[in-house]
């Protein structure tokens, strides 16, 4: 036989490939405790066996859902600006925030209302923000927490910076940075993770994978099987959790935050969930996804799931539910009232907080604006 060069080379290269040693292998774990019907898949983690914790998580999820509903109603009647709902993904925010300590720092995305609320931000402050008033970002709650980040992903480098400060000062604190699946396509996020990995910083990155970045589905965002594996390239562990199972989110967050606090470097959590609503109040999701798809995900939504479990455990009753709704609605109404009766700031205040000391040239502009008051 002639033994053409092409033939022998291809055989040779195949053989060599097989012989090449594997120098690294990685895996990505998936965590889930609660099935969509509320039954348990595996032994619950310690925190989740505490009824008080479970009920607190449940209450916060319900509060967020009712608050969202109200916010949308306000927007529809022209009393609030564009608003990002978290319908269907309510398990993520409290799951993450409840594992944080007060002295940790949260760096949220615009959809993480629930995490802010858990950390003590007032409902009226959130309304003020979405109502177009900067005072909404001067919120109550941990004073070091970052405001909502509207540009997608640009808060991730801040999180690395915050964590670097903790490390430099040897403080046992953790930065927790939240963003969506779309954000993982941004260089900002990878750059932050890469640095955090290289310096073993105490930071936890949380990607809420709700499958859609406005109209762009995950498969056009990445061909990665999981987002969690993006951590591997940055040198640390990424884990995927069922993001509609608040117990899984909470347990993953606890583990990751503890590891970070103990000096074991960053972690990445991908919480796989689903946005049941529109992207924001200016979006119409029916343009790009089918009712069937959405309907299927309603069957897995986080609130009904935890409720089923709690009811099964005799930890929750219909009466409890009614009381909770009433209580939430009362709290929400009070916040709305507060928001609606907060007068706009005087126009010249747009210069306040621009600089620590307003340079005189700009002070003159401020006076010009003040002079324009309708007396």
């Amino acid at each position: 036989m002639g033994g053409g060069i092409a033939w022998s080379e291809s055989v040779a290269s195949n053989r060599t490939n097989q012989d090449l040693p594997v120098i690294a292998r990685f895996d990505v774990r998936y965590r889930n405790y609660l099935a969509p019907d509320g039954s348990i898949n595996r032994p619950l983690p310690a925190s989740a066996s505490d009824a008080k914790v479970l009920i607190a998580l449940y209450r916060s999820m319900v509060l967020v859902r009712l608050f969202d509903r109200k916010a949308v109603a306000l927007q529809r009647t022209g009393r609030l600006g564009t608003y990002a709902v978290s319908l269907g993904q309510e398990a993520v925010s409290p799951g993450i925030a409840s594992a944080m300590r007060e002295e940790d720092v949260l760096l949220p995305s615009y959809r993480d209302n629930g995490a802010l609320i858990w950390r003590g931000v007032k409902l009226e402050e959130i309304l003020l923000f979405w109502g177009g008033d900067e005072r909404g970002s001067h919120f109550s709650g941990p004073t070091n927490d970052f405001p909502f980040c509207v540009p997608v992903g640009s808060q991730a480098p801040h999180a690395a910076g915050v964590a670097y400060a903790f490390k430099l000062r040897k403080e046992p604190r953790v930065a927790v940075c939240m963003f969506g699946d779309g954000a993982t396509s941004k260089g900002d996020v990878y750059e932050a993770m890469n640095f955090a990995g290289a310096h073993k910083l105490p930071v936890v990155f949380v990607a809420t994978n709700n499958q859609w970045a406005i109209s762009v589905p995950l498969r056009l965002q990445t061909s990665c099987e999981t987002l969690a594996q993006k951590a591997i390239a940055a040198g640390f562990t990424g884990e995927q959790v069922d993001g509609s199972d608040v117990l899984a989110v909470r347990a993953a967050a606890e583990e990751a935050i503890t590891a970070a606090r103990d000096g074991n470097g960053p972690r990445f959590i991908e919480a796989v969930t689903y946005r049941l609503g529109d992207h924001t109040t200016s979006d119409d999701a029916s343009r790009y996804r089918s009712p069937d798809e959405v309907q299927a995900h309603w069957k897995k939504e986080p609130i009904a799931r935890l409720r089923a479990y709690l009811v099964g455990q005799k930890l929750w009753s219909k009466l409890d539910e009614e009381r909770l709704s009433a209580e939430c609605n009362e709290r929400i109404e009070a916040a709305v009232e507060h928001y609606l009766t907060t007068a706009p700031r005087r126009r010249e205040t747009m210069f306040d907080h621009l600089y620590a000391n307003l340079p005189e040239v700009y002070a003159a502009q401020r006076r010009e604006l003040a002079g324009g008051h309708d007396a």
Binding site: Y110, E134, L220, R287, T349, Q365, G372
Partner: protein, 326 residues
Amino acid sequence: MPEVTLVEAVNLALGRAMEDDPSVVVLGEDVGINGGVFRATVGLQKRFGPERVLDTPLAELLISGLCVGMAAQGLRPVGEIQFMGFIYPCLDQLVNHASRMRNRTQGRLTCPMVLRTPHGAGIRAPEHHSESTEAMLAHIPGLRVVMPSSPESAYGLLLAAIRDPDPVVFLEPTRLYRAAKGEVEDNGEALPLDRAFVLRDGRDITMISWGAVLKETAAAADALSDEGISAEVIDLATLKPYDEDTVLRSVAKTGRCIIVHEAARTGGFGAEIAATVAECSLASLLAPVTRVTGYDTIIPMARLEQHYMPSVDRIVTAARKLCQFR
């Protein structure tokens, strides 16, 4: 001729350009099935397929960098950045690559790309959705910065931008997307770039503006004419390179010049025009060149943003003051 909105005119121009030239590619976040968050690309994916109307990952630097690569390969990419507040990651590509590809390679590689983005405040949008930082872009040598102010100019200028052999940033006045209506014939006729348009002839004062705030400028001209002041209104349209000639000719005639822009005053593009007028037309000036602009502050969120914007009142007051110089 059909009446269309400004955003519909953008859509018409994109469709026409893609129809006429198979190398035109539209890319960006949500430009496909969703038709863009403002619907500028509505229907295009259906007409031209997902390879020519490409939903990109959420990555602005990528969008601008892809455009550079595609353009260097003879495609005519038209990238969309959803809001001007998200254009900043593109600056690296615009400054370091797009604008200087031709120069660096002495013409061996070129960059016929367009980057479109909504521009400006006044739509009660969330934070970072109301930017008007055109001066920053106009400072970059090798780039073109274009801003239409009506459906007609959106159609004609966008076609010109896509056909232009160099990189163009095309800033679309968000406030006018639906508010501005006009008759546009989809005849494939471009308007000239690098040329200002005299929207209204006048004798006493030259008012120069661009984009959405031309609306207030024109209204101010109306108000002034009731007082017997005849204002010439110029739509600058291309900011980089801008049409000094039309500006200077007008100022030579009127002797007075007001520049109106929504962007913050310091380092704004108005300063550039004022400097040119001062350098070249001192002899014909009857009054100091004046700017009416946004304030030197972050554009406030919805509740205060209207107080930030140059109002008809502020423009009229400034014009009156200039006319007191005799």
